[in-house]
């Protein structure tokens, strides 16, 4: 019989960090080669499977930051350190680090969209020499939904960072939507650059339009899509948009392709 | 004109007295509310020749032809012979002598029915063929009874307001493996019926206590996971009526009975009526006879010799007081006007 591509493997949970009341980061012991932007199908007996993007990559561990929504993720929250997590992956493509090399990079993330770019940011935190500069705009709804607070502090020290909350300003955070801060990025001063946008669908659309308004060409913009998936291997049909399967060709799309994905 | 007419006799003959002295309205039976459309020519001939040219679609699905003069009734009755032979004897196998005298009794009223499953997507039974079987059991008879047959618990036929109301219901079967958990049945049961379905562990569970057997779940199921059991089942309501004095909705007497049981019960109707009225037919409808006998006696007599099917349920008791009142006595003036 053909190797079973749906069979999940058990991994030990090494740590659980409460990022917010609703979001926990699960650190699992896994020596798997994963690229920034990829995802796993995480499963729990009794409930089912859900696609979760990798938020941290270590030599022998992976991190998944999960919001307590839906049945699958809710169940996850009762697990403890030392418990087993069944999962399969990694799936999907990743951010084009070769394309980013030697150029300026702008990362715009909203809400839980910070998770899929966190490992990318951590990579450049350690290897800033790979790129010319990194501008990072992160937006959250309110102070209660800020993710990775410690990481954000670290990033602010090394990157050009703008952090913002939708409707309030607190120390370290300005007020307003991420789109309102995009014009502060000195696009005209970059010789060559890329823009990564990750967040809820509406946020990604308006952030991209704002970038275009600021003179960014479509080819420079990269997005990561989130879709309902049951299989992650191109069979179940849930993530299909036109002739594209997000699990196979995505989740990362250049904007020239992303704008053609008509839902 | 003749001012000496026995209107009681004419009533039994299915001619109803008009406010115009000497004029009558003929009520032609149409069991199950269906006849071949060609009989409209018969109806038209009677209305144009002896009536006033009008046809009233009778409240109990009769063809009602007003304006017939007393002196023409004999001619009308003679003309009716062919219609009665075909509609009553040929279609319903009614055991009767058809002669020039027209309809022999008014007692058992026209058996009403909705269109049923010959047409309707909601219906669970063939109401017409059942109506014809009923007609054979109750007609002709001097005992008064009103019956109506509804194809499904939607009860467009108003079975609820008849002495005997019959409702076609279905026992549902669920194929676990064919179910795709789309919840169409859950939504439809909630919006159209009694909310007995819910999704549990990725499949449907049912609270069987309160299923009314409407089969909406089968009608909407995209995969054929819900199907009706091929055996037809019936609900029988009794004692419903309109009327000036004590109008009330009928109550469930039998649930989940088979056609065999149903026909045996209706077959006992005339004997029950005779028992209650001491073999002296009176102008009293079935519901009143049930009241006179009391539910316990009614149940005993009407189920005499009836072998109930295993699924059948029978009402233990029936209480009417909460729904029965002298019409209007609960409505009082509120503005001090007498």
């Amino acid at each position: 019989m053909t190797a079973n591509i749906f069979k999940p493997d058990p991994y030990r949970i090494a740590d659980i960090v409460h990022e917010t009341e609703l979001e926990y980061t699960f650190k699992v012991e896994a020596g798997v080669k994963v690229d920034h932007g990829q995802f796993f199908q995480i499963s729990l007996p009794e409930i089912g499977e859900a696609p979760i993007s990798v938020s941290g990559i270590g030599r022998d561990w992976l991190e998944f930051t999960i919001r307590k929504v839906g049945k699958v993720t809710h169940r996850l929250f009762s697990l403890r350190r030392g418990d087993r997590l069944f999962m399969r992956g990694p799936y999907g493509n990743s951010f084009p680090l070769d394309e980013f090399r030697g150029k300026d990079l702008v990362v715009i993330a909203g809400g839980t969209g910070v998770s899929p770019v966190r490992s990318l940011l951590k990579h450049y935190f350690d290897h800033l020499d790979e790129i010319r500069s990194l501008h990072f705009i992160a937006g959250f709804k309110d102070r209660g939904s800020i993710l990775f607070a410690d990481d954000l502090k670290d990033f602010a020290a090394r990157f050009h960072a703008i952090y913002t909350l939708d409707k309030e300003a607190i120390p370290g955070f300005q007020s307003g939507l991420v789109t309102e801060h995009i014009r502060k990025i000195p696009f005209a001063g970059f010789a060559d650059y890329n823009v990564v946008i990750v967040g809820p669908p509406v946020m990604m659309r308006y952030a991209a339009l704002e970038c275009l308004k600021n003179g960014v060409s479509k080819e420079r913009i990269w997005m990561s899509f989130e879709r309902n998936m049951s299989c992650a291997v191109g069979k179940c049909g849930h993530c299909k948009i036109n002739e594209t399967y997000v699990c196979l060709e995505g989740p990362v799309f250049n904007y020239t392709k992303a704008e053609q994905l008509l839902d | 004109m003749n001012h000496d007419i026995d209107i009681k006799k004419l009533q039994v003959n299915c001619f109803r007295q008009s406010k115009v002295p000497g004029e009558f309205m003929l009520q032609m039976r149409a069991p199950g509310g269906v006849v071949q459309a060609k009989y409209l020519a018969v109806v038209q001939h009677i209305a144009d020749t002896w009536g006033n040219g009008q046809l009233h679609l009778g409240m109990r699905q009769t063809f009602s032809i007003p304006g017939i003069k007393y002196e023409n009734i004999e001619a009308v009755n003679e003309y009716l012979r062919g219609y009665i032979e075909e509609v009553e004897v040929a279609s319903c196998d009614v055991n009767m002598d058809v002669n020039e005298g027209g309809y022999p009794t008014i007692g058992a009223r026209n058996v009403m029915a909705c269109i049923g499953n010959s047409h309707c997507i909601k219906a669970n039974i063939d109401t017409l063929s059942l109506a014809r079987k009923m007609e054979k059991l109750v007609f002709p008879s001097h005992y008064h009874i009103k019956m109506s047959i509804a194809g499904c618990p939607n009860d467009c036929a108003k079975a609820t307001f008849n002495d005997f109301g019959i409702v076609g219901i279905a026992k549902m079967e669920y194929d676990y493996d064919r179910c795709i958990a789309c919840e169409r049945c859950v939504e439809t049961c909630a919006s159209h019926a009694t909310r007995v379905l819910s999704l549990e562990n990725g499949k449907i569970v049912k609270d069987v206590c309160c299923c009314v057997g409407c089969a909406e779940c089968a009608t909407v199921c995209p995969t054929g996971a819900w199907t009706r059991r091929p055996t037809k089942f019936y609900r029988v309501l009794i004692g419903g009526r309109s009327g000036k004095q004590y109008p009330r909705a009928g109550k469930i007497f039998l649930n989940w009975v088979t056609e065999e049981v149903l026909l045996a019960v209706i077959g006992n109707w005339q004997a029950f009526s005779a028992e209650v009225l001491n073999h002296q037919p009176r102008y009293l409808h079935g519901g009143h006879l049930i009241d006179m006998a009391g539910y316990e006696k009614f149940k005993e007599w009407i189920l005499k010799g009836v072998k109930l099917n295993p699924e059948a349920e029978v009402a233990e008791r029936l209480y009417w007081t909460e729904t029965e009142y002298r019409s209007n006595i609960h409505v009082k003036p509120v503005c001090g006007v007498d």
Partner: protein, 350 residues
């Protein structure tokens, strides 16, 4: 080789075949139809050739033999996911030419899309052989000729029913010994060469036209007509979508099945993610998605044929009497107009 066999003789041979094969065919389930006193014709295991409903189109397709409506993938405990078992016996299925094409579409999805074959599909598909049933004149909702799916050579046996007899072509040499002593006949299956319905397929010539197709008011007309019940996708031979979920057996929920159940792009929760956000919120948008998948997206991705094979079962089963053939013809009319407008705008004649 072909043979002429009485139904009773065929039943004797079928009995022998049943020793090594599980045999599926469309069967009549009396009074089990959607409406009272209507029958349901769907696939199940047959015991006699007399069980086979050959003179009527089955309401559901043979795909459920290969892609079961509900299928256990794993049995799980706290410690492992163990793959579900499958009957190793090979399978014979009585199918129509369009069904064989439809199953080829399923093959494309399950075996070719992505990096690896779907093991659950493959383990059933590898065991299946087809018995082709002649269609005669076909039925009034068929449009196989328009879809190019009216003919096929991909079968092991082919059959024509003729009263108390049948004609059988035996193409697969492994079946020949069984029929060695039977009366031969001159028989090759005939295929439908014209349907009562003709469907024109939309020719979407540019990305710009595709975007305009997405915005057509045509789709909104289905907002009030379509119930989003998914009867069409359940009846469709080439619809392949499914959802995976876990079901617990035990009170503590620690053991159970992970299973796959058919899903439908017509259902409003098809795209909904954890957290509640979804796409294609209206029936019209979902109808558009299904339609374009059937006659545009699939071909755009894989090349070759369209996903729709014109069996017309979606039309047969739609409780709202939406004809897929009519939908496609309406769409094609609109696309003609959009193509002409695009050509006029660029000054190129069509």
């Amino acid at each position: 080789m072909a043979y002429r066999l009485s139904l009773s003789r065929m039943d004797e041979l079928l009995e022998k075949m049943r020793e090594s094969y599980t045999i599926y065919a469309p069967m009549r389930f009396e009074k089990r139809g959607r409406y009272s006193d209507t029958d349901l014709v769907r696939y199940d295991k047959i015991r006699s050739v007399r069980d086979i409903v050959y003179d009527e189109k089955s309401h559901f397709s043979p795909k459920e033999v290969i892609h079961p409506i509900t299928q256990a993938l794993f049995h799980f405990t706290e410690f492992e996911y163990r793959e579900s078992e499958v009957d190793e016996r090979p399978v014979l299925v009585f199918v129509r030419p369009c069904d064989i094409h439809g199953i080829q579409r399923l093959d494309t999805m399950f075996l070719e899309n992505g990096d690896a074959a779907d093991p659950y599909y493959k383990r059933l598909r590898d065991k299946v052989k087809f018995v082709l049933m002649e269609c005669g004149k076909g039925w009034d909702t068929c449009f196989c000729v328009s879809m190019g799916t009216n003919r096929t050579e991909d079968y092991s046996l082919a059959v024509r029913f003729a009263g108390e007899e049948l004609l059988l072509e035996v193409k697969d040499p492994s079946f020949r010994p069984l029929f060695a002593s039977e009366k031969t006949a001159d028989f090759r299956p005939e295929f439908v060469s014209a349907n009562r319905l003709t469907v024109r397929l939309p020719e979407i010539k540019s990305r710009d036209v595709l975007e305009k197709v997405h915005a057509l008011p045509l789709w909104e007309s289905y907002d009030t007509r379509c119930l989003s019940c998914g009867a069409c996708t359940a009846a469709c031979v080439s619809c392949s979508c499914f959802t995976t979920s876990d079901v617990a057996y035990s009170e503590n929920g620690r053991s159970g099945d992970r299973r796959r159940v058919w899903a439908s792009c017509l259902h409003k929760d098809f795209t909904v993610m954890a957290g509640g956000h979804g796409f294609r919120k209206t029936p019209g948008e979902r109808m558009r998605f299904r339609t374009l998948h059937k006659v545009y997206d699939f071909r755009a991705r894989f090349g070759g044929a369209d996903m729709c094979v014109g069996c017309g079962r979606c039309t047969d089963r739609c409780p709202q009497l939406i004809s897929f053939a009519a939908t496609l013809n309406r769409l094609s009319g609109e696309v003609d107009r959009l193509n002409a407008e695009a050509a006029a705008a660029t000054g190129v004649s069509v």
